[in-house]
């Protein structure tokens, strides 16, 4: 087996809420390999989102080591961390998190602006990605004019903008009806299968999780169960 693309070693995250310390994650050890589709399940408050944030360099662990592509990120400065967030990782959120003042096309080109991709290339790629998610007709619409499912598809296109090796999806179907939700998962699965992009998805929906190669279950910030699916 090849080297893990994401590696968490004894990772703990403790939040201070007033005088109380809240352990969001406790001694997590987890290796995720390239091309894997991993689902993280658990009740709300179990630490799923925190775990995903730490993998995606949105948050730093209180203790423990995070390695991305074999490199320890604790030594990285803001510039390197933002580069990883922009290039290596694509995020998809439950709330879609599109920028409301920008059009669909502008939302998809935004990550490329931060990576300094030139304008012509940016627009060409954004159009291609919008076609991939079936929204090429909605290029000049703003998020408010799109349905939830459409917004999430824009978010997927945006996540793919800089050809990331990893996609981190936090409850991507949580705000969608079953039909749109299924469509989203289909697209994500297709990207995982066809492009070999590593996919880590947080969900509380067992049925969705069952489509992953591997499922881990979090409870009170600890991994309590791990399931692997034989192909």
């Amino acid at each position: 087996m090849n080297k893990p693309i994401i590696e968490l070693e004894n990772v703990s995250k403790i939040y201070k809420l007033g005088k109380v310390n809240v352990k969001a994650l406790y001694n997590i050890n987890l290796k995720i390999y390239p091309k894997e589709f991993l689902a993280i399940i658990g009740k709300s408050g179990s630490g799923k989102t925190t775990c995903l944030s730490i993998m995606g360099c949105l948050d730093l662990p209180t203790r423990g080591k995070v390695k991305l592509l074999g490199k320890d990120i604790s030594k990285f400065d803001d510039r390197e961390l933002s580069k990883i967030r922009g290039k290596t990782i694509g995020f998809i959120f439950q709330m879609f998190n599109l920028i409301p003042t920008l059009t669909t096309l502008e939302n998809v080109t935004l990550p490329m602006i931060f990576q300094g991709v030139d304008k012509e290339k940016r627009i060409k790629r954004a159009k291609k990605l919008l076609k991939l998610v079936g929204l090429e007709e909605r290029m000049n619409h703003r998020p408010m004019e799109l349905s939830g499912g459409e917004q999430q598809r824009v978010a997927i296109a945006r996540a793919l903008a800089n050809e990331p090796q990893i996609i981190l999806a936090d409850e991507p179907t949580g705000n969608l009806d079953t039909k749109s939700g299924k469509m989203i998962i289909d697209i994500l699965e297709k990207i995982n299968k066809e492009k070999g992009t590593t996919l880590v998805m947080v969900t509380h929906d067992i049925e969705l999780a069952s489509r992953a190669n591997r499922i881990i279950k979090l409870e009170d910030g600890k991994i309590v169960k791990e399931l692997k699916r034989k192909k």
Binding site: S53, D78, S82, N97, T101, L102, I113, F114
Partner: protein
């Protein structure tokens, strides 16, 4: 990349039009005030320099009153006047070409049934007349010049003729000065300030008579010979007059100024006045800057989640910082552009108004340094005021910012 950020910023500002506009107003009022004051100040400065250049650098003016008292106006109120003796003494000093004294007094003038109070200048009509005409910038526009020192004749200022009385004063008309009848023989060209343009010029001999002064001179004008150092002649005049009047150094009842000193003095006072006015205008700019800061803090708070999103998709702290700095800078810059246009407009209006009321020296002078300078300054104010909010935005933790509702 910066261009892309500018585009993002403009989209954002356009999205919250009213707030952007209000913040911009805060800036452009200040910039407009500064621009109009500076351009008017500059214009007046140039006009004064031009007048002094016409006068020439080889002139010296002797005024009554200690050097603590300011200006030509003090000439008519000074306690100890200059005399004909002083004029004689000065004209005998080596290096002095011509010395001429004039009388300068406020008088009651009647034309038709109207009575006005204006300044009357009594000038000698001998060979020293020329120096007075250059110094005072008297040029005959219509009619003829004074030339008979015993005749009750008068030359009147431009505004005196056309503007002061209901009926236009023409050569050949009769006016009454301090109860004596004078014949108007000529009209002067416009000089550019109301005081001079409404004055009347008569022979000094007759002036002494009607003002009932035996031996009193208001101002002495001196022209220095070619190739002679003006400053040393001025020193010489000071010394000789001191001896004549038996006065101690530093306690003179008169002051001697070269045209360069005179110009410097006027300019110093002018620039002090200007600094004061611009200082007041600058306070409104400070308030405008605080307005930008306030708007930007609100904006950072409102867009916390958006900042989180931008960071999640690859924006570094520096990128976020830049976006917010550019935003504040653009508010400042747009305020500056509007402020410049308004300021120049205001200055031009004041110029037109001043010209209509007789102060044609008050001109607005606009150059590229002023415009570019104020634009750069307004951008700078924006960026400085936006700095603290931008830093706050840049320092937000992405995970935390994304959780913000």
């Amino acid at each position: 990349m910066i261009l892309d950020y500018i585009k993002l910023v403009i989209i954002n500002l356009a999205h919250r039009k009213l707030r952007s506009l209000l913040t911009i107003i805060g800036i452009f009022i200040g910039i407009a005030a500064v621009v109009s004051l500076l351009s008017l100040g500059q214009g007046v400065n140039f006009a004064i320099r031009e007048q002094f250049e016409k006068m020439g650098a080889d002139k010296i003016v002797v005024l009554p009153g200690s050097s603590g008292q300011m200006g030509l106006l003090s000439a008519s109120f000074a306690s100890k006047p200059l005399t004909e003796k002083d004029v004689d003494k000065i004209s005998k000093i080596r290096g002095v070409d011509i010395a001429a004294g004039i009388i300068f007094k406020s008088a009651r003038v009647i034309f038709g049934k109207e009575t006005k109070y204006v300044f009357v200048t009594g000038i000698p009509l001998d060979e020293t007349k020329e120096i007075i005409k250059t110094m005072q910038q008297f040029e005959i526009e219509k009619g003829k010049d004074l030339n008979e020192e015993n005749k009750y004749e008068a030359v009147v200022g431009h505004d005196f003729a056309y503007d002061l009385f209901e009926r236009e004063v023409k050569p050949g008309d009769e006016i009454e000065i301090e109860g004596k009848k004078f014949k108007v023989v000529g009209i002067l060209e416009k000089i550019g300030n109301r005081m001079d343009d409404t004055s009347v010029v008569i022979s000094i001999k007759i002036a002494k008579d009607i003002f009932d002064v035996e031996d009193e001179i208001s101002i002495i004008f001196v022209k220095v010979k070619k190739g002679v150092d003006v400053n040393s002649v001025a020193e010489e005049i000071k010394e000789k007059l001191r001896k004549l009047k038996n006065e101690e150094e530093g306690e003179e009842s008169f002051q001697v100024q070269t045209s360069a000193q005179l110009m410097e003095r006027v300019q110093t006072i002018l620039s002090l006045f200007q600094i004061m006015l611009v200082g007041i205008a600058a306070i409104s700019l400070l308030v405008g800057g605080i307005g930008i800061m306030n708007t930007q803090y609100t904006s950072v708070l409102e867009r916390t989640r958006e900042i989180g999103i931008m960071k999640a998709i690859g924006a570094s702290n520096l990128d976020v910082m830049l976006i917010f700095l550019i935003e504040a800078g653009i508010i400042g810059l747009v305020g500056g552009i509007i402020g410049c246009i308004l300021g120049i407009g205001m200055a031009k209006l004041i110029e037109i108004y001043a010209a209509n009321t007789g102060f044609s020296t008050l001109k607005a002078y606009v150059d590229s340094t002023l415009i570019l300078g104020s634009l750069a300054f307004s951008f700078f104010i924006g960026a400085i005021s936006g700095f603290a909010p931008a830093r706050r935005a840049a320092k937000l933790q992405p995970a935390e910012a994304l959780r913000y509702e």
